[in-house]
Amino acid sequence: MKNLMPILLVLAFVSCQKEVFNPQQTSEFSIHSSANGADYTIKVALPQHYDPETNQYATIYVLDGDENFNFVAENSEKISTEYSTTNVLVVSIGYGNDRTVDYTPTSATEGKGQAEKFMQFIQDELIPKMETDYGVDTARESRIILGHSFGGLLAAYAFTNFNTVFGGYLMLSPSLWYDNEILLRYEQENRDINNNHHQLVYLGLGELEKGGRMLAPFEAFYHRLAFNYPGIKLGRHLEPHLDHVGSKNPNILEGLHFYFENR
């Protein structure tokens, strides 16, 4: 055991090293939201040879950006190269409020329910700034939102209640159990408006997400999208042998592959 410890420590140290996306392709700014009064740090990963004069770039808005930005930016570049297609701008939204405030649609035991204001911030303040300052594509189909867990819940909420904002949704382990599956009610209420739009939706989960809450609402949401949205490009994946946190990065990779293959 004593001999094993240094090896394990080295392995853990090496695997703890965070990939950092090329700083020369990264820009950062702060933005004060008049919708909810919070200040957000936004990081933007630019594609190689970024030239807004000649290219219309799509954008992936990444929730829990402080944790996910580098991984998404690195892999977005790799996967777009693999598919020989233009890369996107990866827009990381840092924490202005706690995620249980910004990412939850209603006030319940687990969250404060300020998602509507957060979505207004994205729609009315962040996206216009990206369009003005970075010259990104203004078409709905060129905007994608990516979130995990409560971030996945917010992505699902964007789908049901702010469907004109994004054309693509990468929902990873979405907390659809939240507030007695309130998202299923929103989906039902807004279905007739939303199912006329073209959508690209990737739903990912860890195969071994336990806790008695993830699997059944995930399947219910997936079936509703599959049977009620004729214009949808829908992907579903259960990451083998992994749980809620462990499946996040593999599902980001699957989701990015799905997006670049089907956009």
């Binding site: 703890c16 007695n180 336990k210 059944a216 399947e219 219910a220 083998p240 749980d243 946190v245 462990g246």
Partner: protein, 203 residues
């Protein structure tokens, strides 16, 4: 930060085992602790990270030499015992079966022995949930998964009679690092760290 906390706790637990080993190695071997060919050690316990996963397990240890054992570890885990009806999501079943085999080495004290073993085998997980919210359609979903399973086990035997007290801790080495070298996957290891207590019998 959460990941760093997980890692810290993971290695704290590994270190606790290492400390036990160091203490044990300082014991003098008086030759009084009975080393029998075969022991059976049924036990009950829980997964310490989740607390709601209850375990029934059995170890069969065959001491082929004083310091070398072959070990079979079997377990049934009743997962998520505390929250089987949450927000109109009913857990129909959620359990895990483990079967691992491995080799171990033992250190002996006057009244106890400490066995450290490396195990490998398979794990079967079965989960079935049903959405029973009266507002929506009923949807049932299930997962049946077979995966490899690796782990370290520390096993304390206390008592020199035919029957003895047994305590063990099992630390999984799957999914991290065998399936994935991504440190976030260590969450799956932590969720299955087990502590078990029971009464063993020497045959």
């Amino acid at each position: 930060m959460k990941i760093i906390n997980y890692i810290s706790i993971f290695f704290l637990l590994l270190n606790l085992s290492a400390v036990n080993a160091q203490n044990a190695s300082s014991f003098k071997i008086h030759g009084t602790y009975p080393v029998r060919t075969l022991t059976l050690e049924p036990a009950i316990g829980l997964n310490i990270w989740t607390m709601g996963d209850l375990r029934v397990s059995n170890v069969v240890q065959w001491n082929i030499k004083k310091r070398l054992s072959l070990i079979s570890y079997s377990a049934y885990v009743y997962n998520n015992s505390m929250s089987r009806n949450f927000n109109y999501i009913r857990t129909d079943y959620d359990y895990t079966l483990n079967q691992k085999f491995g080799v171990g080495t033992s250190l002996y004290g006057r009244h106890s022995s400490h066995t450290f073993s490396l195990l490998a085998g398979i794990k079967y997980d079965a989960i079935k949930e049903t959405l029973v919210n009266p507002e929506f359609e009923q949807v049932t979903a299930s997962v049946h998964s077979v995966s490899p399973d690796f782990g370290l086990m520390y096993n304390l035997k206390k008592g020199i009679g035919k029957y003895f007290f047994t305590y063990r801790m099992v630390i999984p080495l799957y999914p991290y690092p065998f399936k994935s070298f991504d440190i976030t996957s260590v969450d799956g290891n932590l969720a299955n760290i087990a502590m078990e207590f029971g009464v063993g019998v020497r045959l």
